[in-house]
Amino acid sequence: MATSFSFSISMQARVSDLSATTTRFCLQKPASIFHNGKTNLSFSQRHPIPARLAISCAVKQETVEKVSEIVKKQLSLAEDQKVTARTKFTELGADSLDTVEIVMGLEEEFGITMAEERAKEIATVQHAAELIEELIQQKTA
């Protein structure tokens, strides 16, 4: 029996997009981390996973949609303009002032507060959704 985890990793990575200095990888599906199918119970009991790796990261489609709505509104995009989880704000013509306004809209919508540094680094709808869900979870924890 394999134990399944879903977790998110934050890494410093060089990306060509100037607005993001951190790349987050988010596993959408729970992944088994034990290759041979055996569960090492003693491992999981004696070595608790650090809190930051235990954050659940599968973003809800609902969150992505709400973020897309707010982005479209802020940038005055046409309703049929395609905005997906992977859409970068810069591709849509957003500058730093737009990004900050989007963040304010997200804060109002979800009842959270984002630290400015993290907020300004949001490059895609996916990033925003992940950060939102992380903050909501911290709030309700």
Binding site: S16, L18, T21, Q81, G93, E101, E121
Partner: protein
């Protein structure tokens, strides 16, 4: 310091440095369809990475602006080479460790290593590129008429410093308040971009940019730090290390330029020359001013 600005009419502004001699532009040609000719030529100038960047933009307007922005940077920086043979195509760019774009002099053929720094900013109708010698530069432009979708004061309270909020709160007319908010935004952005260390190095609420009393356009930077003993008392450390030049361009945009004060020139006023240009086609001096 030179700022090049390009408006939707494919004009760009550039600001000259006194110590550099600009390249002679090729003689003007009659161009029947300037937009298409310019775009074709500009695509020729760009590297593959830049072209990929342009392709990622959604929609023709955004693609065109991305193309123009890269063209402006290349042609402007190339103009300040002492070796007049430098082809703007041969310039190479890299990013510093925080992601700020810089010229990669080592990998450029025929370039003499110049202590040139540049920074670029654009809105949908105007592109600006600033070039300096020896000192880092940051530039930001915003449309004067840009509507802020949130309440301006609420926005300021969320992101600006306490002193800046207090300043904005004293402005009774909402329109005037919105304009001052935008001016302040450009000044703050210009500083963060000049610093070149990413957003986390200078969150907006940790510094105040305020006008210097007795001057019309002098601004200084003050870092705020809270004294833990009394949370209501913030000590401010204002220094002259960063110089600001607020500008209005084409009657339609606010711009701000920020440079780090050169050790050698400490305290010396900043000379800012603004030119409006169509790369390779036209060049028009707009203003030459001193900022203290």
């Amino acid at each position: 310091m030179r700022i090049s600005v390009m408006s939707q009419m494919q004009r760009s502004f550039s600001i000259d440095l006194p110590s550099l001699i600009p390249l002679q532009l090729p003689s003007r040609r009659h161009v029947p369809h300037p937009t298409f000719w310019l775009i074709g030529f500009e695509a020729y100038l760009l590297s593959q990475t830049e072209k990929d960047g342009v392709d990622q933009m959604r929609g023709d307007e955004l693609k065109k602006n991305a193309l123009l922005a890269r063209t402006l940077v290349r042609t402007t920086v190339a103009r300040y080479q002492t070796n007049k043979e430098v082809d703007p195509r041969s310039l190479m760019f890299k990013k510093n460790v925080y992601g700020k774009p810089e010229v990669d002099w080592q990998n450029c053929k025929n370039c003499n290593h110049q202590p040139l720094h540049f920074n670029i900013s654009h809105t949908d109708s105007l592109i600006a590129c600033g070039v300096t010698v020896h000192v880092p530069v940051g530039i930001d432009v915003e449309d004067k008429e840009r509507k802020i979708k949130h309440d301006v004061l609420a926005f300021a309270k969320r992101f600006y410093s306490a002193d800046e909020v207090n300043f904005l709160a004293t402005i009774p007319d909402p329109e005037a308040q919105r304009k001052e908010f935008i001016k302040l935004w450009t000044l703050k952005e210009a500083y963060v971009k000049a610093l070149g260390k990413g957003f986390s190095a200078a969150p907006f609420n940790t510094f105040t940019i305020q006008s210097i009393p007795g001057t019309e356009e002098g601004y200084s930077l003050c870092k705020t730090s809270e004294v833990t003993a009394d949370p209501l008392e913030e000590t401010k450390k204002c220094n002259g290390e960063w110089k600001f030049a607020p500008l209005e361009l084409a009657d339609s945009h606010y711009a701000a330029v920020c440079i780090e004060d050169d050790q050698a020139n400490e305290g010396a006023p900043m000379r800012v020359i603004v030119r409006k240009t169509i790369p390779f086609v036209e060049d028009q001096l707009i203003s030459e001013r001193i900022f203290l």
